[in-house]
């Protein structure tokens, strides 16, 4: 033991042997644990990849602790183990997400790309005239329905939600406004917990109260039902974001002789815009996949319907539900012929289920595109801090 290490060990108050090992030691113990796990499982005749990884991980925790304890000391051993636990938690959190994406891409991807009669026809055709097990049809009508209904739900919810948040943060400091704000906050909290099916029933009942024909279904009914789910999310997230804007900035604007409403519009909203778009996107993403309220209020059709006020509409979640429930198709022969126009399609037993997966992929793509747009907005409008 050299003098230098002795001095160092006195300073750190630990044994002289305590020093960090390079990372490859950890990788090595990890590999050893995996091999050990494989051997153990093979002995019991239960060899599987998942088993090896799980057992290997647990073994690695033990091995790392013991190895690090001997070579690095107690504190570093604890550090190593906690690091492994964090990595493990991260992997567990990520696994469902990645496997979900993988599954949807694998199951839906080929149906989207290799659609008949031409690639990506799945996104340009609807389900009118598609019968039996025909390997045809697409989600154009459902995608349009989803986008329209979500768009109008957003048109209803974003102003209401944003203005409510502005009232709560900027205009409700004293007197009766304060009481009103407390009431509003309470109601918003309750609204957050409304089950989506209840929102759907409410949207339906609201419209049917004014309709002579009780079987009427319209896109706008779905939008109203969805906005019921969206408003509380928008209020909550916007409120948080507006509260994050420092009071300093408001005062700076007031001190320049800027009226309050302009301060709110040009300073507060402008500063919070990144957070606001993120919150609104999350609210949209929350409702875009809603099935139950749309099943009740807008139903299902096979063709494109552009009108929000005229008849039923298809939407992606209900389409997925419908197709998946249809299950396996009956294929009497290799082809299916449309008796109306004489088109001939190949018959596929799994066509309905394929379409359901492909529609799920479409929905994910739409949500992803919306997210990217929101990211771009936040990126270009967020406060610039760099030099």
């Amino acid at each position: 033991m050299s003098t230098a290490t002795t001095t160092a060990s006195t300073l750190s108050g630990a044994r002289a042997a305590e020093r960090r090992l390079p990372l490859w030691h950890l990788l090595l113990t990890g590999a050893a644990s995996l091999v050990l796990a494989a051997l153990v499982l093979a002995t019991f005749g239960n060899l599987s990849i998942v088993g090896v990884i799980l057992l290997g991980y647990v073994l690695h925790l033990v091995v790392t602790y013991v190895y690090s304890r001997v070579r690095e000391g107690r504190r570093w051993a604890a550090d190593r183990v906690v690091m492994l636990l964090v990595i493990g938690a991260f992997a567990i959190a990520l696994f469902p997400l990645l496997s979900l994406l993988w599954k949807v891409i694998v199951e839906g991807g080929s149906r989207v790309v290799k659609a008949a009669p031409h690639p990506f026809a799945f996104w340009t055709s609807d389900m009118s005239g598609v019968i039996g097990g025909a390997d045809a049809g697409g989600v154009l009508h459902a995608a349009i329905g989803t986008l329209l209904i979500t768009f109008w739900a957003s048109v209803i919810s974003i102003p209401i939600g944003l203005f409510t948040a502005i009232f709560l943060v900027e205009y409700s400091s004293t007197g009766w406004k304060r009481t009103l704000a407390k009431g509003v906050t309470f109601l918003v909290d309750i609204m957050t917990g409304i089950p989506s099916i209840v929102a759907g029933l409410f949207g339906l009942a609201l419209f049917l109260a004014f309709m002579p024909d009780q079987s009427v279904r319209m896109g706008i009914m779905g939008s109203v039902a969805l906005s019921l789910l969206m408003i509380p999310t928008v209020v909550r997230s916007s409120e948080e974001m507006l509260r994050l804007v420092p009071l300093d900035l408001r005062e700076a604007a007031y001190a320049l002789g800027v009226p309050k409403w302009l301060t709110v519009v040009r300073v507060v909203l402008r500063t919070a815009i990144a957070g606001l778009t993120t919150g609104i996107t999350l609210a949209i993403a929350r409702v875009i996949g809603e099935t139950a309220p749309l099943l009740l209020t807008v139903g299902m059709v096979t063709g494109v319907n552009w009108s929000m006020f005229d008849g039923r509409m298809a939407t992606l979640p209900t389409f997925i539900n419908q197709q998946y429930r249809a299950g396996k198709a009956n294929c009497m022969s290799d082809t299916v012929t449309n008796v109306v126009n004489g088109d001939v399609y190949s018959c596929s037993i799994t066509t309905n289920i394929d379409r359901a997966w492909a529609a799920a992929l479409t929905l994910i793509v739409i949500v992803m595109v919306l997210n990217i747009i929101a990211r771009l907005i936040s990126h270009y409008f967020s406060p610039k801090l760099s030099r």
């Binding site: 400091s173 004293t174 420092p246 300093d248 900035l249 408001r250 005062e251 700076a252 604007a253 007031y254 001190a255 320049l256 002789g257 800027v258 009226p259 302009l262 301060t263 040009r266 300073v267 402008r270 500063t271 409008f381 967020s382 406060p383 610039k384 801090l385 760099s386 030099r387």
Partner: protein, 261 residues
């Protein structure tokens, strides 16, 4: 512009809800001069400062009673719009607060742009240059006017805030401990600036630093508080030189000589 008149404060009582924070202030602030307000924390000097441009009432429940005459007009008279008062009485805050979404140039033009007023590019360029020169910042930032204001150093940010304030051409500039977060060099830059600004503006500055008060101000007011929960009072108001050499009030003498506070 007409010859500037003093700011006259009469019987001013300042409240936070039911709580009387500052009681019965009577003072006359000379135009085109620097007036410093000193006193221990919580004595109401910042509160008083904020009543001079009606920023006080921005805080929920806060209000003031009395008269504050600026250029012969009582800013607390019925029907006076605080927004108009603030256009004439600018304010610089303790913490530099440039708008984070704006470039240096836009920060200077904030008073114009946030009010949706149209301004030609040439006028805007002139205003930016004159205001930044007025705040002794032009040479440091003239090559990066389009860069974010938040990218500047603390002292530069504070001078940017001063430029932003003088760009709306106020008559009075209020400063609430403008140097308390700055290093000595930046502080010196701002003190020099205050000296230059007093040729054109009436300046009222709140400071905790008594050396600073004695360096920059022509007249000084000393605020004190009898105890927690009691209202603050303006104890003494006089020429700075007299305040720091031969104050009339025992409390002032104790505070300035460091016996308390």
């Amino acid at each position: 512009m007409a010859a500037p008149q003093p700011i006259t404060v009469e019987d001013l009582n300042i409240y936070y809800g039911d709580f009387l924070a500052v009681e019965d202030v009577n003072v006359t602030i000379q135009p085109r001069s620097v007036t410093a307000l000193i006193g221990p924390s919580g004595c109401g000097k910042s509160t008083f400062l904020r009543t001079l441009n009606r920023m006080h009432e921005v805080i929920p429940g806060a209000y003031a009673k009395g008269t504050v005459e600026i250029n012969g007009e009582n800013i607390y008279a019925q029907g006076v719009d605080p927004v108009n008062v603030r256009r004439r009485v600018g304010m610089v805050f303790q913490k530099a607060n440039p708008f984070p979404t704006m470039s240096i140039r836009d920060n200077v033009l904030a008073g114009v742009k946030l009010n949706n007023r149209r301004i030609s590019k040439r006028d805007a360029d002139e205003l930016v240059e004159s205001s930044l020169k007025g705040a002794n910042l032009w040479n440091e930032v003239k090559d990066r006017l389009d860069k974010p204001g938040m990218g500047l150093s603390g002292g530069q940010q504070q001078r940017l805030c001063i430029a932003r304030t003088i760009a709306v051409r106020p008559e009075v500039v209020l400063m609430d401990e403008p140097c308390s977060a700055l290093d000595p060099i930046s502080t010196l830059a701002i003190e020099d600036l205050i000296h230059e600004l007093k040729d054109n503006y009436t300046i009222v500055i709140v400071t905790h630093n008594m050396q600073q008060a004695s360096r920059v101000s022509d007249r000084t007011g000393f605020f004190n508080i009898a105890g927690t929960g009691k209202p603050g009072h303006l104890i003494e108001f006089d020429d700075t030189e007299k305040m720091f050499t031969n104050p009339e009030n025992k409390q002032t003498e104790d505070y300035i000589s460091g016996r308390f506070g």
